[in-house]
Amino acid sequence: MINSQAFLTGLKSLKGARSPALPLAACFVALGALFKDAGFNIQQSAASSLFTYALPGQLVMAESLLLGASVINIFLAVWLVNFRLYPMTVSLFPLLEHKSQPKWKYYLSCHFLAVSSWLIAKESYKKINAKYRIDFWMGIGTGTWLTAILMTVIGYLVADLLNKEMLIGLAIVNPIYFFCMMIGAMKNLAVSISVILGTILGPVIYIFSSEWSLLFAGLIAGSVAFLFGEKNGQ
């Protein structure tokens, strides 16, 4: 049903110098500590990473709860911040598509979609036989997902041992690692413009609209980059 060799190859992407395990560990430990601070118990903290598994959305949830926001407001705020997962899925799953594979694999494994797993899969899917790419993806996703859950629990447990400076240090690892990965992915004009323009527009639009900034920045920067790429024959 699942090709174990492809699955294990995916799982093994957690090892080695390009592994996302370290940055994932750093940011989910920081998240676990934040959850403790926000009044979550350990089961709730683990459940959040198990069922949501998307750090920016979980941060929005924890902060909104601290501010006393309603559940409807939390839903909308999280939907807007995690909407990036939609274009990310559409730019990855067609590469993993194979007629012989059942649809449930795609519907279930889309839960594993996060920045770390997405960047690794985009970087390495070509090495895998097209038929088993979805199994490879499920291996990557299982590894990154379980790391995130485990580290949330560890972060919760060690929260009292971490001072503020240490937590700040842990929290910066995530954006730095992913920026490096994205710079590594800038191999053609369209992607390079997408990354540079997106980085600039994200914070700039945030000044005018905190909620809609990601959506607008992504659409504007992405469309401009696409048109440039098309015009220059890439």
Partner: protein
Amino acid sequence: MDSSQIIILAIIATSIATYISRFMGALTSEKVSVKSKIFKWFNCVAYSTLAALLGRMIIFPAGVLADSELIMRLIVFFTCISIFILSKKNLVIPTIASAFLLSFLTNI
């Protein structure tokens, strides 16, 4: 409603709000061919949305990062990106350096 119930509701709402985007993405993917222009467009939008999020995390962070100073985060950002490029794209050194550098700069 006590605070524990509110937290559980918030976790459920957050999980549904997140899964919707992933599931819609999986459904849309069935109709998108790898060679089509729309696929290329989605690829650009995905990279730029991600870049926007990361840019925002550095300039206007949420969570504990908000307690550090912007200038310190920018110093760490530019230093670590330079290390990454100069070290021929080694990921481990800039990643570990970022944690120590920002902790140190926040502490002084």
